[in-house]
Symmetry: C2
Subunit: 303 residues, 2 copies
Amino acid sequence: MQPVLTVGSVAFDSIKTPAGEVSRVVGGAATYFSLAASLFTPVRLVAVVGDDFGPGHLRIFDGRPIDLSGLQRVAGETFRWRGEYHHDLNQRDTIYTELNVFDAFRPRIPAAFRDSPIVFLANIHPALQLEVLDQVASPRLVALDTMNYWIEGTPDALRRVLARVHVLIINDEEARQLSGERNLVAAARAIRALGPRRVVIKRGEHGVLMTSGERFFAAPAMPLEVVCDPTGAGDTFAGGFIGYLASAPQMTDAVLAQAVVAGSTMASFAVQEFGVDRLLRLDKAAVAARFGEFRQLTQFEPL
Amino acid sequence: MQPVLTVGSVAFDSIKTPAGEVSRVVGGAATYFSLAASLFTPVRLVAVVGDDFGPGHLRIFDGRPIDLSGLQRVAGETFRWRGEYHHDLNQRDTIYTELNVFDAFRPRIPAAFRDSPIVFLANIHPALQLEVLDQVASPRLVALDTMNYWIEGTPDALRRVLARVHVLIINDEEARQLSGERNLVAAARAIRALGPRRVVIKRGEHGVLMTSGERFFAAPAMPLEVVCDPTGAGDTFAGGFIGYLASAPQMTDAVLAQAVVAGSTMASFAVQEFGVDRLLRLDKAAVAARFGEFRQLTQFEPL
């Protein structure tokens, strides 16, 4: 069990979906990631919040092995985001994104975190992702998420950081955009040429496709009748995936496949309630039970 | 190993994809279905062709256990279709559909076929699907495919035939349209209420989702770098699925899961070349090898 360092956003989210609406709940990529990963391994969180982020908000991290000593608290307002989902939950409108204190964020990795063997760089400016890597000693595993905004806007910085990354976790459209290839097999190969040995492609309701070399592993999403709020599903997947890898003694192909399912398991819980609500009530027994449901969903006998 | 009766179209297809173009090749739902199913079990084919369909065209069925005594040959031209695929192979334009002799087709099931224990009703007018069922004695398993055209145009006839069907094989958008439910879990439940005990939802490049009762089984599509021509993939899936079921001594949940993978295996071959070309050169060893690749793609250890 090795600690995971993550750097990313902690935010106030307002979310409207066909199932209802919540206002100013704690969200952000690093929040979802940490809550998911901490069910498997200790997490070291580096992020920034404003002085409107109080002890009550911090409480969501209580009772979990999440080290908050890298959470900067500065004057100003916390990053705020509002999204509204369509009846088709694959479609969402961003109503506003106010970076606030996140705009001037420069990640400072506490001395005690610099030996972190595993690093997850959540979706932030690739130049900041590089600054993080410059502050950690020699991580055994660096994983990264990014988005269309950086693929289009800062391609050179993104390529510099990708050259130092072992695992890229990205959604299907972003994989196509980054590689210029429509076919995902070709896209994954092109991305591996940029640095990452392994590419994990998130396909939303269609599951996950992981490639390493010429091997592929695919997991479907759990069929759910009620999807309340997809916000944070990708970061929750990453938390389960990386957290599971960090908890395993070795990173074999078999462990990587289990990690994909662990990530899918966590994401399947996250979307069942608004924001992080379901993650907060989650325990290892429920995770193990749903992991078992994933086996029922996918396993079949040889011919 | 039980014989499968299938009723559907045999056609001349002209197909253009980003990989190239073919003209006037033998296609049609019943053709793809029969070629795929016949690798597992004997097939009894009922369809109609025109007098432009010669011995050379019939040759594609040679050397396989496909009984053509129900293939009517009448004066006139064979059903013709032309489709052109976009760079995104999920998009296709139908350039023309000329029903020709298929327009007046009334399925006549030869006496020797009336005891067929397994029936696959390919995508034709639901009134004709009903006529087929009226001519077979007491099939153990009736499976049916349909499309948006009948869901919109002849909903009452479609409901009458669905009430007599055990397995509906349908794509995801058609499942949503038929049920009025966007969520596939809800859609599958609504469809089961119409008659079919089992619903097999084809999701193209995203694989297949099967439901029976509250149980689900999901299989991804094989990641392929070269997809030459998606024409007939759904009917080829159905052929592998039903053919495998017919070849098994029992229809347990475990066998049904293998049947989904057998269908996915056959479809993964079909799309690699134009029309039925790859299916014609396919043998059981290649099918077994790719079935094994599906296991590598999807299997993972318990926690």
